[in-house]
């Protein structure tokens, strides 16, 4: 079943083009990571999918037009926009009461059992909870909703490593199954590398990469090249180079260069699958036409933005 179908979806805010003819097709049972630099259009894309903003082009989510049918759509879609949106005056028990009151697919017992594993007390107000606890509460509410599509926009922003790991662990073990679909945007790509089934890079409102994680792993290879083999390695047309500890690390795209095989690369040095962050920097960090920017600097900027 198709969960999201977008054809030429565009959105401009004044003169700024946030989305520029985005096409997207997402099937049931996938976990899609939407990765992009700040201001690339990630949140705009999610907001369009969630019916929070108007857009040009064709967009169907679970067969509905999100802009005109938001309230109906929200029976089957849940989302966490970011950690700060639970109303601060609300008590935990009131949040449970309200969602149970208005949501036909909310399983209160399930939410209670998630909360039982945390230190969150029913009588606490949201303002009294730590940032990590607010996210746990929101996740408990959302995971207890029997939704078909879950949208997460920077769900772990500002959380420490333990909370982040726990967040994705519970999502995978207690929530995700083949009948559900998750779309997530995050700057903390290392957290989701092993969570995603599909990867999408978005830059300047356009989708610049769209592939499954299996394709990602077979397509991209990274080689830490022996100093004496550098020239031979460059002959194989890497798409990107970075330096680490005086060694050259080259990234190869096996679709662009069909003849490459793993053995051939292994002769040049240690071969491994790059991280999403590596590929991100390679593709978006120092493209010709982009502002002149060293790869290392782009990576530093990117990681700085993630913090």
């Amino acid at each position: 079943m198709t969960v999201i179908e977008a054809r030429g979806v565009s959105k401009a805010f004044g003169k700024t083009i946030a989305l520029d003819g985005v096409n997207l097709h997402l099937e049931e049972g996938r976990i899609l990571g939407l990765i992009g630099p700040n201001g690339a259009g990630k949140s705009t894309a999610l907001n369009a999918i969630l019916g929070l903003i108007e857009y040009q082009g064709q967009l169907r989510v679970l067969g509905r037009d999100p802009w005109t049918e938001r309230d109906q759509l929200m029976r089957d879609v849940s989302f966490i926009a970011d950690v700060a949106v639970l109303p601060r005056w609300m008590r935990v028990s009131q949040a449970l009461d309200y969602v149970a009151g208005v949501h036909p697919r909310f399983d209160r017992a399930k939410a209670e059992s998630f909360l039982a594993q945390t230190d969150i007390r029913r009588a606490s107000k949201v303002r009294e909870l730590s940032k990590g606890m607010v996210t746990q509460l929101h996740l408990a509410l959302v995971m207890a909703i029997d939704a078909k599509l879950l949208v997460l926009d920077e769900p772990t922003l500002g959380l420490d490593l333990l909370y982040r790991k726990q967040f994705y662990d519970s999502l995978l073990t207690d929530y995700f199954d083949r009948s559900r679909t998750i779309v997530v945007t995050t700057h903390q790509v290392e957290d989701v590398q092993n969570v995603l089934t599909d990867l999408m890079f978005i830059n300047r409102g356009q989708i610049v990469l769209s592939c499954s994680m299996e394709d990602f792993e077979s397509r991209y290879l990274e080689v830490t090249v022996h100093p004496e083999r550098v020239d031979a390695a460059w002959a194989l047309k890497p798409i990107h180079e970075r330096q680490a500890l005086g060694r050259s690390i080259l990234l190869f795209d096996r679709v662009a260069n069909q003849k490459l095989d793993r053995q051939q690369l292994a002769a040049l040095g240690a071969v491994r699958t790059p991280t999403i962050a590596d590929l991100f920097v390679a593709m978006l960090g120092d493209k010709p036409g982009d502002k002149p920017n060293q790869a290392g600097e782009a990576r530093a900027n990117y990681e700085g933005a993630a913090r």
Binding site: L50, D71, A81, G101, V102
Partner: protein
């Protein structure tokens, strides 16, 4: 065997098949109204606090009452008026309180959720913008008038019992309070006044304030009041007239549509002069309600477009 439940929808994408069996529209509305009371506890705490303070004042007065009522010079009518006065005053005070509460509530209703970004959470739930706006509008238009009525009646009963206890304690008759005061009519007039004036007649004010709270990025109070003052000023300078000011004034004072401001005194003598029929067919009422509907419809539309500020 129930065959109905085994019917498989033809297409899994059919929206009607996705929507679970009729969740009644009133349930989200009910919970959204309750939610407003969770968030805005001043809605009931303020009138209850005022009522409690008033009760203290009333008790002190009642302590002095027996001495004053022994004054042989006091005419029976004046005596009745003297007994009755605090009850009317209690009603007025509570009305004033909830009026202020309602104004502040309305100006914040659609602004606060955008300010604290919680609108994103509310919009993640299957509740329509219409339901949210109506639930917020129902607070000043329906619920606060009824709540004011309930608290006033409860307060008046407590006053009556306490007052009687004090009178009995000093060995006097309580017959005047219990028999001479027209309790039923007083309550009825109060209820009518609250529903007709505070609910229906003031509705466009609240509709306007809700609209401004949903539109203004900041300072909704200024946006709600200054443009009205500006119109008054411009009209005065340009045409040397004051129609708009007069219109506002008549709207606020209750107009001449059957229940004037005098009715707030709830004089029993006024009862025959109250004419609900005349009120309900007056164009002023219906023009006001139509404007309220326009303001609310615009608020629903705005909420759809607006996100956090």
């Amino acid at each position: 065997m129930n065959t109905q439940s085994n019917v498989v929808p033809e297409s899994p994408l059919d929206p009607r098949a996705i929507a679970p069996a009729a969740l009644s529209e009133t349930r989200p509305f009910y919970w959204s109204v309750r939610r407003e009371f969770w968030e805005n506890r001043s809605l009931y705490i303020a009138p209850l606090a005022v009522a409690a303070l008033f009760l203290v004042g009333f008790l002190i007065r009642t302590m002095h009452l027996p001495a004053e009522m022994r004054d042989p010079a006091l005419h029976p009518m004046l005596q009745l008026e003297f007994i009755r006065q605090p009850y009317d005053f209690a009603a007025l005070l509570l009305m004033g309180t909830t009026l202020i509460v309602a104004v502040f509530y309305s100006l914040d209703a659609l602004h606060g959720e955008r300010r604290d970004r919680s609108i994103l959470f509310w919009k993640s739930l299957p509740v329509s913008d219409l339901t949210i706006v109506l639930s917020k509008a129902s607070i000043p238009l329906v619920i606060l008038p009824l709540l004011t009525f309930a608290i006033t009646i409860a307060l008046q009963w407590i006053m009556l019992l306490l007052g009687s206890a004090v009178l009995l304690g000093s060995g006097q008759s309580v017959a005047t309070s219990w028999t001479q005061l027209p309790w039923f009519q007083m309550s009825l007039i109060l209820l009518y006044h609250l529903v007709a004036i505070h609910g229906l007649w003031y509705a466009p004010f609240y509709g306007w304030m809700l609209l401004v709270s949903g539109w203004a990025r900041r300072a909704p109070f200024l946006w709600a009041t200054l443009p009205l003052l500006a119109i008054v000023g411009v009209e005065k300078i340009a045409f040397n007239t004051a129609h708009f000011a007069a219109m506002m004034g008549s709207r606020f004072s209750g107009g001449n549509e059957g229940v004037g401001e005098k009715a707030t005194g709830m004089s029993v003598a006024l009862l025959p002069h109250l004419s609900p029929a005349q009120f309900f067919i007056s164009p002023g009422l219906w023009i006001g309600l139509a404007m309220t509907a326009i303001f609310l419809a615009a608020s629903v539309r705005l909420r759809r477009y607006h996100g956090p500020i």
